[in-house]
Symmetry: C2
Subunit: 470 residues, 2 copies
């Protein structure tokens, strides 16, 4: 069937309110938010119900038309951006925004895929519970996309990845069949856990339409510490002490370099130099508890006192108010925006066995300095999870398209070191288009074969998100 005919069939089946085909209506859906990828599509479908998602997929499968599922478009790897094929259909979940249930007895939340993560977090908070998934893009990202990419964020050290929060999923398979797995049971050992295949599959196996998530007790008593460190090795020792002494209260352990602080101070407003001098590295620690502010503060004072005494940090400041909690976090949270303001750069979302981070950082930096002496590294990340955002900005004065033109050998070098240290080339962002070649070259061949077999099994017509991941 010709492209116009198929688009017409979609409109007939789902209505002009759901299906847009005019070029000016389709155009806003063709690029990723970083502006790196741009593709083509014959139509954008914005279903309101699971049934409409099912109809759309059934029609696409019959006609062999590629489908690109799209959430909040906050991914960093081009996973929700269509490729250059003119037949693509972009399937946006943005209209499926019902919170189907919040249950404070079972401690579950059931929400449709298009719900904005931040809205769900606030809804849980209002109900007296915590939805712990938290990340920089949470006020734009959608829960369906968060799950399709198995999002991470700042609270993983305590609550795990998005995967760990999922009790059940509703999804539409490429055939149009609806997978009714939206269970809220805590325990259900009845066969293979099929939902796990969809989580983190980046839209290549089906479309998540709703999810049942675990809620946690609120942990509103918070203490934030910013500690200055000499090196990643010192940060690692500090992590050991905090993990040992603070137990389950340790909810974030973030690292960033002095260069990141300099960049934030240059580009962000309302941020202040945290200490009298600039240090090589910083660690932002958040402890949280459901009760007893005094006890938490005493614990923090005690542990930070021990850290200073044992020389596991150079200096430290403890938040004395909620305003200070926010001010300290701002230093960390503004890094991505400051980097964006600085211009295009190479992003590497890597993870490592945590105890090898210091050595990795040393050898990677040495190799980079030798091969690309003028690069400007801005390293930060979720150190407590072994996750670094190993970002490299172009040399001072280089053209802004430097990363696109000359970045490949730099990335090759970084990933080569990552693999050598037993790490992963994608900690939490996924593969998408950005890392597909590296993924296909570095993944274990047996695992790749199994993934391709599963892909063929669930998506025999190969319509789901072509050019991404596999």
């Amino acid at each position: 069937m010709s492209t116009p005919d198929f688009a017409q069939r979609l409109v007939q089946a789902l209505g002009p309110d759901v299906v847009a085909t005019a070029p000016q209506d389709v155009a806003p859906w063709l690029a990723d938010w970083r502006g790196i990828y741009r593709g083509q599509a014959q139509a954008v479908v914005r279903p309101r119900t699971t049934q409409e998602v099912s109809q759309c997929l059934a029609l696409c499968q019959q006609a062999g038309v590629p489908v690109v599922p799209r959430g909040g478009n906050t991914g960093l790897c081009g996973g929700a951006t269509p490729d250059a094929g003119p037949a693509n259909v972009v399937l946006s979940l943005d209209r499926m925004t019902a919170v189907r249930a919040i249950d404070t007895v079972a401690n579950t939340l059931v929400a449709e895929a298009g719900c904005i993560l931040g809205n769900l977090r606030r809804a849980a908070q209002e109900a007296g519970r915590l939805l712990p998934l938290s990340l920089a893009a949470e006020d734009s990202s959608q829960i369906g996309g968060n799950l399709a990419t198995n999002a991470g964020g700042v609270n993983v050290v305590r609550y795990g990845m998005a995967r760990e929060l999922v009790l059940g999923l509703e999804a539409v398979l490429p055939t149009g069949e609806v997978f009714h797995g939206l269970r809220t049971l805590r325990k259900d050992n009845t066969g293979y856990d099929l939902k796990q295949l969809l989580i983190g599959s980046e839209g290549t196996l089906g479309v998540i339409t709703a999810a049942a998530l675990r809620l946690f007790p609120r942990a509103d008593t918070r203490a934030v510490v910013l500690a200055a460190v000499q090196s990643p090795a010192q940060a690692l020792q500090l992590f050991e002490l905090l993990y040992e002494r603070c137990g389950a209260r340790l909810q974030a352990f973030e690292f960033f370099t002095g260069e990141c602080v300099g960049l934030v101070l240059r580009h962000a407003e309302g941020v202040q130099e945290p200490f009298a001098q600039r240090y090589p590295g910083y660690v932002l620690v958040e402890l949280a508890d459901s009760i007893d502010e005094a006890a938490l503060n005493a614990l923090v004072e005690d542990v930070i006192g021990a850290a200073l005494e044992r020389e596991l940090c150079l200096d430290a400041v403890v938040s004395a108010s909620l305003a200070q909690v926010h001010a300290l976090w701002k230093l960390r949270e503004e890094i991505s925006e400051a980097l964006r303001a600085d211009g295009p750069h190479l992003k590497h979302d890597i993870s490592l066995p945590i105890e090898r981070i210091p050595e990795f950082m040393e050898t990677a930096e040495a190799r980079l300095r030798q091969a690309f002496p003028d690069l400007r590294p801005f390293l930060f990340g979720h150190f407590g999870d072994g996750n670094l955002h190993y970002n490299l900005a172009r040399p001072e004065g280089a053209p802004t398209d430097w990363a696109a033109r000359e970045g490949d050998p730099v990335t090759d070098l970084v990933f080569d070191e990552v693999i050598r240290y037993g790490g992963s080339i994608s900690a939490e962002h996924g593969i998408g288009q950005l890392k597909r070649d590296h993924f296909l070259h570095t993944k274990d061949p047996l695992e790749l074969r199994l993934m391709r077999d599963i892909k063929r099994l669930l998506d025999p017509a190969g319509i789901m998100n072509p050019g991404k991941l596999l």
Copy 2:
């Protein structure tokens, strides 16, 4: 190839120390520990290495010989017991007992499949960390079997199921290929999470040979409360209060009936009636923290005071010493043994949406009383996870084979109610042989089809654990 020829080939390939074929050597491996199932096998293979597991599976696959993987044989559903086929090969992991690594920086433990769970818990404890998976059979069960069945246990309310603890797996596929997924990374978003298929697959997709598990900070400060309740509805209200007020410290919330206490007092030694009178129900609560005994005790006093004041329990006793912690737990832990002493009974390991437990228990009991008035229910379980062990003993004076002869319509009735209330017929024990028919009749047809497709994909010769699960 004839059975003797194949057994001979196994012996030639792996040696007589690894392969036993004499009937008297094979006989001890043919029954489950409850004595309900007994099968046949031509050989028992007890490999010492992953390589030997691989050789065994490759040979079996070539010859189309069925393989029954076996861990500690503590499963309750006959999943590790061969069926009646004389060609079966039992593959025991009991010689693969190396703890390959305990890392207190990365907080990971890497162990081979045959390690006894209790030994791993103690090894973690000695290293200053917690492996939270804990269950009655932990001093016999093996970690490989725990993962193959996605075990639960008493700490799920805080730490999740076995699945949640797994960072990486090494496994041998039915083809003999080794799946090298033994990563210890906290974050690794590179494609489909294939290890999830093996977890909970009950030996039908391959053989887990080693696992990398998450460790947690030790939480050695413990407080245990035994509360008497009027009904499951009251237990539910108590759960809500505790969850809200104690946050992450709530580590167990177990329920059992007065009948269970009576049974334990009749059969177990060194157990005392906990209150001056017998109550309809009991809740055993454990709170744990890594610090500050005084604060934990104050919290317990405060919360239990509130519970009594709001009439969310009838009476309560708080542990004042470690000896009392053990004494209170003994009441709960002895129930299974006391039931065994009472004679064969019908076990139903079910889960429900937690807020529906009271209503389920009422209606199920009413239907049972009408249809089978003389049954003796002994109900207990991990209430905080919605998981009940809904056990029914034969009528007073009935022959001991009553359950085997007349149990089926009773189980049909229980499962019928479970399904009606949106529950699961297997919360944590799995399907095995015991629940296969019910599983095949109650599982969603689409999910069943996908499971069978995945089974065919990974085990095209269909050699893995025939007659179990699918």
